[in-house]
Amino acid sequence: MTQRKRKLGRGVAMVGAGMSAFGIRPDVTNRELFAEAFLDMVSSVDRGFDPQDIEALYVGNCGAEMWESQSVMGALCADVTGLTPRPALKVEDACASSSVAVREGIMGIASGMYDMVLVGGTEKMSILPTNWTTMALACGSDTTYESAAGFTFPGLYASMATAHMERYGTTHDDLLRVAIKNHNNGALNPKAHFPKTIKDVMDMRKAQAKEKGKPIPNWADEMEFLHDPRYNPVIAWPNTLFDCCPVTDGAACILLVADEIAKNFTDKPLYIIGSGQASGHNLHDRETLTSIPAAKLAAQQAYEMAGVRPQDINIAEVHDCFTIAEIMAIADLGFFKEGKEAATAAGEGKTARDGIKPVNVSGGLKCKGHPVGATGAAQVVEIFQQMRGEAGARQVTNMDINLALNHNIGAHGTTAVVQIYERR
């Protein structure tokens, strides 16, 4: 492929970001989740703005056709937010749908076509019973050759975990420490699906046992709790329940504007300085099972465009749909060496909120939740709040956050998007 340095035709800034509460939301549909995120975004724009100035929408949605028997989510989200008749594009790229939507919106502004666009995503997942949700998610892999072989999503990532364990000696405890870390962060996120530490969950289970007059389990710590198959069963070996992100309803959106008008809306705009996207083969056709090649490529493109290096990034939101995914992500992004160094980063506190490279301070997909079509945009919402010092109890305080990154994987690595944000 011919290599040409890619750059944006003109600068793009974020001036607003918002999200719905994440969780099981039985009383609302996709479009209403999106409206909730939209109103939250509107209230985040410091000097306010007229939503009628929005010129186009880009809405990530992975599978409303399956979960809600509903397509045309772009137009429906325009309708509910009062933005009809603006062009509204529904973007589907599995779990990276909304990152691709963000990127398409960036290009809409960079091209000169628009000065202000709304980008984001929404997903309502809790409607279907587990077996059908498993089917709907599995449609993100190659159903002819992967799903038909019995692979589920937890199963595909579990396979990568077994390959990682075989090659690098990674242990299941290394994986579980990622979950513990992300729950420690998510416990401080009021919009997270499960705003609890794993220790909180363990104490809850003890209290429930006591209430029911059953013997109270005497786990010494959260790791011992996680080793108990009665409370942390295997989903797809070696992935246990606490290695997996939950099935979540939620939406998120961001207001993008041309950089020359950004200061009309806020004194603290954030600038998108790097964007990369790549596609990948089915898992069995890749040269490696312990890394996601598309993520490495997307990261390389984003770093090159931004003119920064992995070590310059202060914080990152990465795609931890399963614990092994975060271990691969922080290596693919160049933060840690692939193998033991990346596998032990969470356990050694390097990626903790007060660590040298905080990763998933929002709680990540693991704890905050993973409404697939909204996840990428929700990562950007966290970055928006962290970079502006507005993240409340989970604010990173041991550094100035001048550069941040999000890493969003579609399916098991058939799409990857990496974007870099700067505070000036």
Partner: protein
């Protein structure tokens, strides 16, 4: 003789006849399983069918208790889990398949690298529409 097209339907028909067929690039000799209509290495569309010997080794795996509908309908569940894996064939390519004859009750005993032989199983089809999901199909699997 007219060339059999390099399609999923052709591959499925070979599997139904219990033959593991791949596409081989006439130009660069690369072998593709699942078969492809365009060689990924040299981008040529000059391909031929070759039969693989069905021998390979396990390179990654999982044991699943919560499966998709075709596996549930085939009788698998939390109490009767199954193994799916990625198999590297003697001829080089890798493929996803169900792995039979391994200790699914003790996945920690399943070893990467074990030799495997192709076999064929019958299950319902992968489809959301019940009438189509009921249609039985032959799938590639591997026996430990």
């Amino acid at each position: 003789m007219k060339q059999i097209p390099f399609t999923i339907a052709s591959y499925d028909k070979f599997i139904e006849d219990k033959k593991l067929m791949a596409s081989k690039c006439v130009k660069c000799r690369a072998i593709w399983l699942p078969p492809r209509p365009i060689c990924l290495t040299c981008k040529s569309d000059a391909l031929e069918w070759v039969e693989l010997n069905g021998k390979g080794k396990l390179v990654a795996f999982t044991v699943i208790g919560v499966g998709p509908m075709p596996m549930i309908n085939a009788g698998y569940n939390r109490d009767k889990p199954y193994c799916s894996g990625i198999v590297e064939l003697d001829e080089g390519p890798r493929i996803s398949a169900q792995i039979l004859g391994v200790d699914v009750a003790h996945p920690e005993n399943i070893k990467i690298g074990i030799p495997l032989t192709a076999t064929f199983v019958e299950r319902g089809s992968w489809h959301f529409v019940e009438e189509l999901a009921r249609v039985k199909k032959t799938y590639l699997a591997f026996q430990a």
